[in-house]
Every structure is written in C-alpha cells, then in structure tokens.
C-alpha cells in the first residue's frame, strides 16, 4: 500500500438473532435440531405474514428487542426510549411486501464503542454508530432462464450494527469483526455461523490523501462470509482504488462483490440508477418503548464479555495474552476452559497446562472434524483429569496426547484409558537408576563429549534411556538423573 494514501473503512454487520420465532410473525427462526438451511424444503417455513399476503400485519417479537438492547448495552450504546420502524421501499422478488421493515430515523441504539486488539498488542477504540432492528429478505436461486424465490429466510430477525469509518487497515477491520462476532456469540443472541449467513459483513472502503480530513468516494463490498476474506477483499479494493486514482480516474460509488477464488472485487452495478428507498415511518407498527426497568433487567443478564474474560485470564491465571485471545475467541471454548479448571486442585498452577491442552490438541481436533465443542465427546472432566496427571508427572506429554485422542474418540474416562493403554510414566527412581547406570556405562564416548562441552548429546542418552524403558519413563526426569550421574 502506498504511503501517500490513507484507507478509510466502515463496517456494517447483519447478525441474525437466535430467537425462537421470526421478528414480525410466529414462524420458526431456528432450524429444527439436525436440520441445516441447505436441506430445508423451500418455503416450508413461511406464513401469510412473512410472504406478504394482502391484509397481513407485522407484530413485533419482544425477544428481538431484548436481544438488540443486550447488544447495545454490551457495546456501551445509548438505548433510545422510543424508536420507530420505517419502510424501505424497493422491488425485488425476495422482498415479499415490496418494502423491508427496518429502522431509519430514531434507531434503537446509538453511539457505542468496541475496543479491538491487534497482533502487535496495540489497542484501538472503534466507534459504533448505531444498532437497529430489521427483517431479512428471502433468497433467490438463479437457474438458467429463470430464478426461484425461497422465502424461508424472509422475516428473520436481524440487527444491523454500523460502525463509524474508524478503521484504517484490513487488519483492524478483521479485528473489529472478530471482536464483534465474539460479543454476539457470548451474549447468546446470535450463533455467529458465517457459512449459513447468520453473521454477514459489508465493508465500505475509500481512500484519501494522507492528512486529508474529507472522505473519499466509497465502494461497498457486500456479503463476504469469512474474516480472512474480508481482510483480503479490503486489501484488494484499496489497491484497486489507488490504481484507479493514480491512473487519473475517479472512484465510482458502487456495490462490489468479492470473488474469493480470484481474490478480486467485481462491480455489481446494474443499469438502473441508485435506489430511492422512499423511507417513511411504518404505519402498521407503533414506536418501540423501552423503559429504564427493562434495560436494568437486561443489564443483569449480561455475561462476562470477551475482553473482560481475557483480562481475568491474564491477571488471575497469568496466561499470556495470545492464549487468552485464543481461548476467548469462542464462548464454548472459554466455557470449556473454565469448567475444566473448576475441578482442578490448584487452578492457578494448572491454568497454563489446561490452556495448552485446549488451544493445542482440542482445537486441532475440533478443526479436523469441523464440529462444535458441544458436539464432541470430550468433557471438561477429561481435561481436568489429564491436567492433574500431567502436573503430577504421572503421564508424559506424549502420553497425555494419546489419552486425549482416546477420550475424544470413545468418551471413556481418563483413568480407564490410562490403565487400558498403559500410559503411566515410569518415575520410580529405584527402577530407573540401574537402567541409567547401564546406559552411561554403554556409551562412554557420548559421556565424554558431553563433559567436553557438547551439551546436545544429552538428548541421545535420554533417547536411549527412553528406548530401554519402552518409552514409559518421564523424559525430563530421565534427563535430570542422567545429568546428575554424569556430573557426579
């Protein structure tokens, strides 16, 4: 990126709220267990209201408002006492009424902040302009010569969270999105599933000469469904815009799509002129009244937020910042970590070991099988038991890995697995001494090398000892003993 240019990024996130029913009708808002959006029969989850039948009317779902207030409180927003709905009018087949019920003037929440942390450790505050409620549209499937409209998604409850254009690099944008994603999942108001489109990001990107205070013309990159792709799309777009301007041209205000395969953004511009949405207050819905009592009630239900947890992990457990970040990226993982620590004898001491297990093996297994924490057979008790055994050096780290894998596969208790697989380390000094004496006696050359200063040779001797004990000895204990013997 050229140094003469400053990048300005604003992000709009649409998060589908995980309520039971849709925002304005009583159709299901969640999939039945075991179902996915892909194999739901088209239009099976609709009713006259969300398909815009004549004479039907919207009725606001109380929980949708509660969830939005929760988000507003978590982001430190002002919650409006009276907010109003508005109609956004345009024609599109997936928009049954010919208008979307959204909020325009007087949205529910305004003026919040989200603190982000970059890899360098730098912290930055991003200002959030507004959070408002709206209904989702359906989906169009494009075939050859025609399109099919599926309205299952029409009427799903959304919050739209709009940031101020405070971000200056793709990394900041990625950090903001990750932080926001963590918050909505922590609050249990959104499942954060980006593949299913339950957490969607639109990026508004513009450039301006460094030092300038006026905003350049921005383009909107729509519907990028992963954090990594958002960062890459922004990076591409910024370079594209710089290229346009340096080539003597002007950036056109337009909507663009990101092609992840080619890593480019493509113009979506159609021949029609910009939409005139003709916003006006929704006459079928009264203003939403939110009183102090309701806000207080919701405030009490706020869980410990990601950044609060991170702080606690660092100060209470002495965990390094990176570990804290990884553990708190997803609520299920953080909860699993805390539950594992809960039954351990000395949590403060065991925290790092527990963190290592979870950020290491457990995370690897989750990714490999592409499942959620809740879907695995692994329980906090498994990890807690393993941590105890590791701390007491009853198993080696290799043994622990093996045991974890078995627990993952079978769900059996750690005790049972360690017995069955014979994973207990040999740490009995009495048994080890003669073995070590023999090794030292058999390898005088290496011993001499070590004494001469080649310290690495100890690895060879430990390896030999491990072989002799069938891999069951505690390697660090072996190393200590061999050193002691050699030095004496």
């Amino acid at each position: 990126m050229s140094l003469e240019w400053e990048t300005v990024i604003g992000l709009e996130v649409h998060a589908q709220l995980s309520t039971q029913s849709k925002i304005f009708c009583r159709c299901r808002a969640r999939l039945e267990t075991g179902h996915s959006v892909a194999n739901e029969v088209a239009n099976a989850n609709t009713c006259p209201v969300c398909t815009g039948h004549p004479g039907t009317l919207p009725v606001l779902n109380e929980q949708v408002v509660a969830f939005a207030i929760k988000a507003g409180l978590a982001l430190g927003c002002e919650i409006r006492k009276k907010s109003i709905f508005a109609r956004k009018n345009y024609f599109y087949p997936d928009l049954p009424k010919g208008y979307q019920i959204s909020q325009y003037d007087q949205p529910l929440c305004e003026n919040g902040t989200l603190q982000i942390e970059l890899a360098s450790g730098e912290k930055k505050k991003i200002n959030v302009q507004r959070i408002h409620l709206e209904e989702d549209a359906g989906k169009n499937v494009h075939m050859s010569g025609y399109s099919l409209v599926n309205l299952n998604r029409a009427g799903m409850p959304l919050v739209e969270i709009v940031s101020f254009p405070d971000m200056r690099t793709p990394e900041e944008a990625g950090a903001y999105l990750r932080a926001l994603h963590a918050i909505v999942t922590y609050l249990d108001i959104c499942d954060g599933n980006m593949q299913e489109g339950n957490f969607r990001c639109d990026a508004n990107v513009s450039i301006r000469p460094m030092g300038s205070s006026t905003l350049g013309t921005r383009t909107e990159i729509k519907n990028v469904n992963s954090f990594r792709f958002v960062e890459k799309a922004i990076e591409y777009e910024v370079n594209r815009q710089i290229g346009v301007v340096q080539g003597g041209g002007k950036v056109i205000q337009e909507t663009r799509l990101y092609d992840s395969a080619k890593n480019v953004t493509l113009s979506m511009r159609s021949k029609e002129d910009a939409h005139d949405y003709r916003y006006f207050p929704e006459p079928d819905l009264l203003p939403v009244s939110v009183d102090k009592a309701w806000i207080e009630k919701i405030k009490k239900t706020l869980p410990e937020l990601p950044h609060e947890k991170r702080q606690r992990y660092i100060s209470e457990y002495g965990l390094p910042a990176l570990d804290a970040l990884t553990l708190t990226a997803s609520k299920p993982l953080a909860v699993f970590f805390e539950q594992s620590l809960a039954t351990v004898k000395n949590p403060k001491l065991a925290a790092k070991t527990t963190a290592n297990l979870i950020t290491g093996e457990v995370t690897r297994l989750l990714h490999e099988e592409n499942i959620e924490m809740s879907q695995s057979r692994l329980k906090p008790a498994h990890v807690a038991d393993l941590v105890e055994l590791l701390t007491q050096k009853v198993v080696s780290s290799t043994g622990a890995k093996q045991a974890l894998l078995q627990a993952w596969k079978t769900g059996d208790s750690i005790q049972k697995i360690v017995e069955k697989e014979g994973l207990k380390q040999v740490s009995d000094l009495g048994a080890l001494e003669p073995v070590l004496d023999e090794i030292i006696a058999r390898h005088p050359a290496q011993v001499a090398e070590f004494k001469a200063g080649k310290e690495k040779v100890i690895g060879f001797l430990v390896g030999q000892a491990m072989k002799a004990t069938g891999g069951k000895a505690n390697p660090s204990l072996l190393q200590d003993l061999i050193l002691k013997k050699i030095k004496s």
Binding site: S21, R26, L60, P93, S147, L148, V149, F280, P281, L286
Partner: protein, 99 residues
C-alpha cells in the same frame, strides 16, 4: 410549485414499476398537475415546531412473546403459501431471471 411533465411522470412510474401507455401519460399529466397544484396549499400552513403525526392513536408498543406457531403445510407437505401461486417449481416461486 412542481411542474408535472412527461419526464417526471415516467420517472415516478418507473419507481413504482408501473408501465403507462402514451395515452395514459397524456391523460394523467394534467390530472396529476391539477391534484398537485391543489395540494400546494399545504405550504401556507404554519407548521414550525409541529411534530408529524403518523399514528392517530397514542398507545403503547404491541409486543408479542417469542413463541412459534407453524402455518401448517397441506396434506402433501407443501407450504400453503405456495398454493395458488402463479408459478411454482421445486417448492420455489418461479420468476424471470434476476441478473
């Protein structure tokens, strides 16, 4: 005072996805002009400090509990909202190509 001409009429018609024949355009222009000129008198009213009224009622927000009610499918398992639709294919509403 807005002047209603063909360009404005066609632009508004396009926004509303209405197709007007040339005869209709010619017929509507004077009629719309007449009505809009009549509406012009609203500009004489002193509305400073007056809040717009969008609901004749002053009552509290109607909120409903977060409960599911399934709009039952028909005996064959297809959604009743597809019944009598002009064109249905694979349980979807069929329309011309969108791109």
């Amino acid at each position: 005072m807005v002047k209603v001409d063909e360009s404005l009429t066609l632009r508004v018609a396009n926004l509303a996805r209405l197709e007007l024949t040339p005869e209709e355009v010619q017929k509507f222009i004077p009629q719309l002009q007449q009505v809009l000129s009549y509406i012009e008198q609203l500009s004489e009213v002193n509305v400073s400090g007056v809040e717009p009224l969008t609901h004749p009622l002053t009552i509290e927000t109607a909120l409903r509990p977060d409960e599911v009610e399934v709009f039952a499918p028909d005996a064959q398992g297809h959604s009743k909202t597809l019944k009598d639709a002009p064109s249905v294919l694979n349980d979807g509403f069929k329309v011309p190509p969108i791109i």
